[in-house]
């Protein structure tokens, strides 16, 4: 496998360098560098959305989630994703019509403008920062751990992590968002090919679809229904996840900025439609891999299962392709998140464009280094940490929607204040200062519910809606 990996790796790296180099000259302003000129068509739009949304947790986390918790994982991620896709069509339009494309730099700056208060932008930025940095870190951590176990006698884990961050930073800094988008195209295709090759192999070894479920039933029938053997997929978890996932396009800046930079509304519509198909196609094989794991590696640890199912049980070239696919999945999400934080920084800076762009580019390097630091310290629970990230940024939902739909959101500043307080409360629970449940209810759901009620009260008591 070693030689094949070197060949595939060299081709992949060569293409990344080529695409970054090709796009390097067009970044004369912040608009070009951070927003790719705001003129993205549906084909590139589809792949950049897909590569940004479907990350390491899809290729590593979801198979393990299916293996441990069963078919309810489909509801948790696929159904929620498809509702989100319609949400892109529904509310993405409103975001695009409200945003002034000419001055838009990021959601933090946009919120600061509509609420007519810079501190509201800081709340947006701080929340994205707090919940995205750990998410970026787990992408890097997940793949570095996997590579470390696949090649135990090669280099230490931190070398893999540093290598990924260096590659990611290099092409982001050279080519800006345009390079990231073209690389997302490459990474999205690699991800899809890899996941389907492994999915087919696993399905074939389990004697097809019905054979697969029959075999899994003999091992643990609870995997074939909700809430799953460990009872994870109860109403609160599924509902909270769906709400958090549906909020992603409006509360996670790496996705929001992609809504805005689409060429026109129709391109956004086609992208949303394609994204729905992509979501089904990319999640389905993770179910095959997970069920294969449930039958063959039911009692194994997650790294043991993934090492066997994705590498050792595959032929040499497929194993090598898997490793490239994993790296692609990790850096395609992580780069967009780090870069979006840079864009958010730029949206809050006022002054001469060249100088501010330079500052924001330096911020990207700082964010990447912080993520690297977290990656070397974080835990291995990919999916649950990813969910914590979605749930955290989801708290921004009421603030964003109020800002979108009210004519003058600045008349109701209580909402941003309470949003900031809620984020702090949730952070306290996430770092273990107190329980994440109150009276049996998840704290993230309670906070989101309260913020929604406050937003509705604000909508009823202040003047005029935008639409």
């Amino acid at each position: 496998m070693g030689r094949t990996l070197v060949i595939f790796g060299a081709i992949y790296l060569g293409l990344l360098i080529f695409l970054s180099y090709r796009n390097r000259s067009s970044n004369s302003s912040s608009k070009d560098f951070f927003l790719a000129g705001s003129n993205i068509g549906s084909f590139l739009g589809l792949f950049t959305f897909a590569a940004t949304l479907f990350s390491t947790f899809t290729i590593l986390g979801m198979p393990d989630f299916f293996r441990v918790h069963g078919v309810g994982a489909w509801i948790f991620i696929a159904v929620s994703d498809l509702i989100m896709v319609f949400g892109i069509l529904w509310f993405g339009y409103h975001l695009r019509t409200r945003v002034d494309k000419a001055s838009f730099m990021g959601m933090a700056g946009f919120m600061a403008a509509v609420y007519r208060a810079r501190w509201v932008g800081y709340i947006m930025f701080a929340t994205a920062f707090i919940f995205l940095i750990p998410y970026v870190a787990i992408q890097i951590r997940g793949v570095a751990t996997f590579l470390d176990q696949a090649f135990p006698d090669s280099v230490p884990l931190w070398v893999w992590a540093v290598g990924m961050v260096v590659v990611m930073l290099a092409y982001s800094e050279i080519g800006g968002l345009k390079a990231i988008i073209y690389n997302d195209l490459l990474q999205g295709i690699v991800l899809m090919i890899v996941i389907w090759i492994i999915g087919f192999v696993c399905l074939d070894r389990m004697d097809g679809l019905s054979g697969m479920f029959e075999k899994v039933a003999t091992k643990n029938e609870a995997l074939l229904s909700v809430p799953g053997p460990k009872g994870l997929f109860d109403f609160q978890f599924l509902f909270g996840s769906m709400v958090a996932i549906c909020m992603i396009p409006f509360t996670q800046p790496q996705v929001s900025c992609r809504l805005v930079i689409m060429k026109d509304h129709r391109a956004l519509g086609r992208t949303a439609m394609g994204l729905g198909v992509f979501a089904i196609l990319v999640i389905l094989p993770t179910m095959f891999i997970g069920m294969y794991g449930a039958f063959n590696y039911g009692d194994a640890t997650a790294p043991e299962f993934l090492g066997n199912a994705l590498i050792k049980d595959q032929s040499g070239p497929v194993g090598a392709l898997v490793l490239i696919g994993l790296i692609a999945a990790a850096i395609s999400t992580a780069d967009s998140q780090i870069f979006a934080l840079g864009g958010e920084t730029r949206s809050l800076l006022y002054g001469e464009d060249k100088k501010m762009m330079k500052k924001a580019r330096m911020a990207i390097v700082v964010f990447a280094l912080l993520s690297l630091g977290f990656a070397l310290m974080s835990s291995d629970e990919l999916v649950l940490l990813a969910r914590a990230s979605f749930a955290g940024t989801a708290l921004l939902g009421p603030l964003v929607f109020f800002g979108l739909f009210k004519k003058d959101p600045s008349l109701f500043k209580l909402l941003p204040i309470l949003t900031g307080v809620s984020v702090l409360i949730l952070v306290g629970a996430n770092i273990g200062l107190y329980a994440a449940k109150v009276g049996g209810l998840r704290l993230d759901l309670i906070l989101l519910g309260l913020l929604t009620i406050v937003a509705l009260i604000g909508a009823a008591t202040t003047k005029g809606t935008q639409l």
Binding site: A78, L82, I83, F86, Y93, L224, G269
Partner: protein, 72 residues
């Protein structure tokens, strides 16, 4: 039926489908049947739900009132 009406129907259907996800119609606790081609109930109903949502999204892209404005 006008495009605006169809768009409203799409939105209402998606909201209803999202709510149905948490009812025994899609996620019955501990029930694996009835199966379709050996696929357990929640899995095939969930899959069907995602396919329907893609179709609704496709219809939505055709009838979205804002997209018509752009065309005009």
């Amino acid at each position: 039926m006008t495009k605006k009406t169809i768009w409203k129907i799409c939105c209402i259907t998606v909201v209803i489908m999202a709510i149905l996800t948490f009812t025994p119609l899609v996620t019955p606790v501990g029930r694996t049947g009835p199966e379709v081609m050996g696929v357990p109930y929640t899995m095939w109903v969930g899959f069907l739900q995602t396919v329907i949502l893609v179709l609704i999204t496709w219809v939505g892209t055709k009838v979205h009132p804002g997209f018509s404005d752009e065309e005009a």
